[in-house]
C-alpha cells in the first residue's frame, strides 16, 4: 500500500506542474488521478 501511495504522490507532483504550466493531461495522468481519487474515497467511506 505504502509503495503505491508513494508512487501516486510522486506522479501527482508532475501532474500538478503540468496543470500549472497549462499543459494537457495525458490518459496516463487521468488514470493516475482516477486511481488516487478512488483510493481517497475508499478511505473516507
Amino acid at each position: 500500500m505504502d509503495g503505491v501511495a508513494a508512487e501516486i504522490q510522486e506522479e501527482l507532483k508532475d501532474i500538478e506542474q503540468k496543470i500549472k504550466d497549462l499543459q494537457n493531461l495525458s490518459q496516463k495522468d487521468l488514470l493516475t488521478l482516477l486511481a488516487h481519487t478512488l483510493l481517497e474515497e475508499e478511505k473516507n467511506s
Binding site: 500500500m1 509503495g3 503505491v4 501516486i8 501532474i15 497549462l22 493516475t32 486511481a35 483510493l39
Partner: protein, 547 residues
C-alpha cells in the same frame, strides 16, 4: 437528445442507496426509451447488496474493483492503471452514445473524462483538469444539491430530468396485507441515526402495541453485534424480534413484500421500502436532506427536526446531536401505530399531533407522485416558515425555467416576522437583478470588443475585471441572504460552462446567461411581491397597501 435505440452508460460510484435511486430514474427512462440499452458502471462493494435489482434494470454492469483490494506488497501503480484501463476498454467496446455521470464526485469526473463518447452529461474534466458541465440539469444538481438545502426536487426526479424523462405517472400504492414490521436502526454515520438505547426503548413500546407482530431488524454484516444487542435486550426478551442480517437484495425484497411497515433512518433500506411500495416512517437526522434524498414513495413519511442546524454538513463537528433529541420516541410510536393500522397519516391524526408536546419540534413530511415528479409537503397544521416559502418559490421558477412548466401554486399566509424577512429578501433580489443586467451589458461590450480587428487589451481587462467584481458582489449578497444562493450559484456554474469554441462565442453565451439570470430574478421578484400583497404587508415608505 432522444435516447431511444442508443447505448447509454450510467456512472454511479456512490453507495448502494444511490444505486437504487439511480435505478428508479433509469426505470422511468426505460418507459420513455424502450429500445435504449442502459449500462451501469459502479463500485464492487456497493453493487453486491442490490445486485438482483440492478441486474433487472441494466443490460450489463461493469464493476470497478476496490483499489485497496488490488493492492498487495508486489503491486505497482502500473498494475492499478492497467486494471482501470481495462475497465475503460470494456466500456469503450460497448460503443456508448451517451454517458451520464450521476455521482458528482471526483473519481466519477475522471472516469467520465476517460470514456470515448461525444455526449457527456454530468461533470467531467477537460485536458487542463477543469471541471466541465455541459447540460443544464447537471449544472443545477452541481450548484444546488451539493451543499445547498433549498432544493425542491427529489434526487430520483433530478436524474430522470437529466435523462430527458418528460412524463411522470402518478402511481397509487397497492394495499399491503403483510403483518410484519421491518426496522433498520442503522445508518452510514452516527449523526444520521439514533443511539441503540433509544431504539431499544422505542421498539419496546412498538412491540407492546403489536404483540402478534414480528419485528425484523435488518442490517449489514457490520451491524450484526448491535442488532443482536437490541434483539436480546431485557426489555424485548418476550417479543418476536428477529435479526435479519447480511441478506441479499432478493431476500430483503421478499421480506418487504410480507411486511406492513418500515421504520428507519435515511438509508438503502428506506429506498428498498420505496421499491416495494411499503408504508415507511423515516427519521431524518444530521446531514440527511429530506428534500433531496427522501425515498421515492407516496406512502413514506419523514420526521424532520425543526432545529435551525438541521440538516447540517456531514463533516461539520457536532457534540450534542441536538437534532436527535428533537425527535421524541413517542412520535415514532404514535405514527407507527397509525401507519400500521391505516397505511397513511391523515388530518385527524395531525390534529391530535399538534396537541402533543412533541408537535412543535418536528415537521412531518408527506409525499405524492405527480405529473411533475415527487412532491413533498408538510403535514403540520402551521404556516410555512421562510425556508418553506422559498422552497415553494423555487419549485415554481425552476419548473418554469428548466422544464417549461407553469405551476399554479396558491400564495401562502406568512407570520409577520417572516414577511419582514421576505421584504428584505426582495430588496436584495432587486440588487441581484441589477447586477445581472450590468453583467449582461458588460458581456455585450466584451463581445463587441472581440469583434474588432485591433483588440484593445486594456479595455478587455477592464471588462473582465468588472465581471469578476460582479461575481464577488453577488456572493457577498448571498452570504447575508442564503436563500438566494440557489439562483446565484446556478447562474455562476452556467456562466462558467458557457458554450462556444471562440472567445466571441463564449462572450455571447455569457451575455445570454446573464440575460436569463435577469429574467429569473424578475420572475422571482414577482412571486415575492405577490406574496407580500396577498399578506397585505405594508412596505416601509409606502402609505397604502396594494390590493
Amino acid at each position: 437528445m432522444n435516447l431511444n435505440d442508443k447505448n447509454i452508460l450510467i456512472i454511479q460510484l456512490a453507495r448502494s442507496g444511490d444505486l437504487l435511486q439511480t435505478a428508479m430514474a433509469v426505470s422511468m427512462a426505460q418507459m420513455q426509451y424502450p429500445k435504449a440499452k442502459f449500462y451501469l458502471v459502479a463500485r464492487e462493494n456497493f453493487i453486491t447488496p442490490v445486485l438482483e435489482i440492478l441486474d433487472k434494470t441494466y443490460e450489463d454492469i461493469i464493476t470497478l474493483s476496490s483499489i485497496r483490494n488490488l493492492i498487495n506488497e508486489e503491486t505497482k501503480l502500473l498494475d492499478i492503471r492497467s486494471h482501470l484501463r481495462d475497465v475503460i476498454k470494456t466500456i469503450d467496446s460497448l460503443e456508448i452514445d451517451a454517458v451520464f455521470n450521476f455521482s458528482f464526485n471526483t473519481p466519477s469526473g475522471y472516469l467520465t473524462s476517460l470514456i470515448k463518447c461525444e455526449n457527456k452529461f454530468g461533470p467531467f474534466r477537460n485536458d487542463n483538469n477543469q471541471i466541465i458541465i455541459k447540460d443544464t440539469w447537471s449544472q443545477y444538481i452541481y450548484s444546488n444539491v451539493l451543499g445547498n438545502t433549498v432544493n425542491p426536487f427529489n434526487l430520483v426526479d433530478l436524474f430522470s430530468f437529466t435523462l430527458g424523462v418528460k412524463e411522470f405517472k402518478s402511481v397509487s400504492m397497492p394495499q399491503k396485507f403483510g403483518t410484519n414490521i421491518i426496522v433498520h436502526p442503522f445508518a452510514s454515520n452516527a449523526k444520521k441515526r439514533w443511539n441503540t438505547q433509544k431504539w431499544i426503548n422505542t421498539l419496546h413500546h412498538i412491540s407492546s402495541e403489536h404483540i402478534d407482530t414480528s419485528i425484523f431488524i435488518v442490517g449489514a454484516k457490520s451491524d450484526e453485534a448491535e442488532a443482536l444487542e437490541i434483539a436480546n435486550h431485557e426489555l424485548l426478551k418476550d417479543r418476536s424480534i428477529i435479526t435479519f442480517i447480511n441478506k441479499s437484495s432478493s431476500e430483503l425484497i421478499n421480506l418487504f413484500k410480507e411486511c406492513r411497515l418500515f421504520i428507519g433512518h435515511d438509508s438503502l433500506l428506506s429506498h428498498m421500502a420505496a421499491h416495494t411500495h411499503t408504508p415507511s416512517l423515516i427519521i431524518s437526522l444530521g446531514s440527511v436532506r429530506p428534500n433531496d434524498t427522501s425515498p421515492y414513495n407516496d406512502f413514506a413519511y419523514n420526521l424532520a427536526p425543526k432545529i435551525g442546524c438541521f440538516p447540517c454538513r456531514l463533516e461539520s463537528p457536532c457534540d450534542d446531536f441536538a437534532c436527535h433529541e428533537q425527535v421524541d420516541m413517542n412520535v415514532v410510536i404514535d405514527m407507527s401505530k397509525e401507519l400500521f393500522k391505516n397505511g397513511m397519516i391523515d388530518d385527524h391524526f395531525m390534529a391530535k399531533f399538534q396537541e402533543r408536546s412533541y408537535g412543535d419540534r418536528i415537521n412531518i413530511l408527506g409525499h405524492e407522485r405527480s405529473e411533475n415528479g415527487l412532491v413533498q409537503f408538510k403535514l403540520n397544521h402551521s404556516l410555512p416558515d421562510i425556508k418553506e416559502i422559498f422552497l415553494h418559490f423555487y419549485t415554481v421558477i425552476w419548473q418554469f425555467y428548466l422544464r417549461d412548466i407553469s405551476l399554479n401554486v396558491p400564495y401562502s399566509q406568512l407570520e409577520p416576522e417572516d414577511l419582514e424577512v421576505l421584504y428584505h429578501y426582495k430588496n436584495s433580489l432587486m440588487k441581484v437583478k441589477k447586477l445581472y443586467q450590468f453583467a449582461s451589458n458588460y458581456s455585450s461590450e466584451l463581445c463587441d470588443e472581440l469583434k474588432k480587428k485591433d483588440l484593445d487589451k486594456n479595455k478587455l481587462n477592464i471588462l473582465m475585471n468588472k465581471l469578476g467584481e460582479i461575481d464577488q458582489m453577488l456572493f457577498t449578497i448571498v452570504r447575508s441572504y442564503p436563500f438566494l444562493s440557489p439562483l446565484v450559484n446556478f447562474f455562476f456554474v452556467k456562466k462558467n460552462n458557457t458554450i462556444g469554441t471562440t472567445p466571441q462565442d463564449m462572450a455571447i453565451s455569457s451575455q445570454l446567461t446573464f440575460y436569463e439570470g435577469t429574467h429569473m430574478a424578475a420572475a422571482f421578484l414577482e412571486l415575492i411581491d405577490q406574496t407580500l400583497i396577498y399578506n397585505q404587508y405594508k412596505e416601509p415608505g409606502k402609505n397604502e397597501v396594494d390590493v
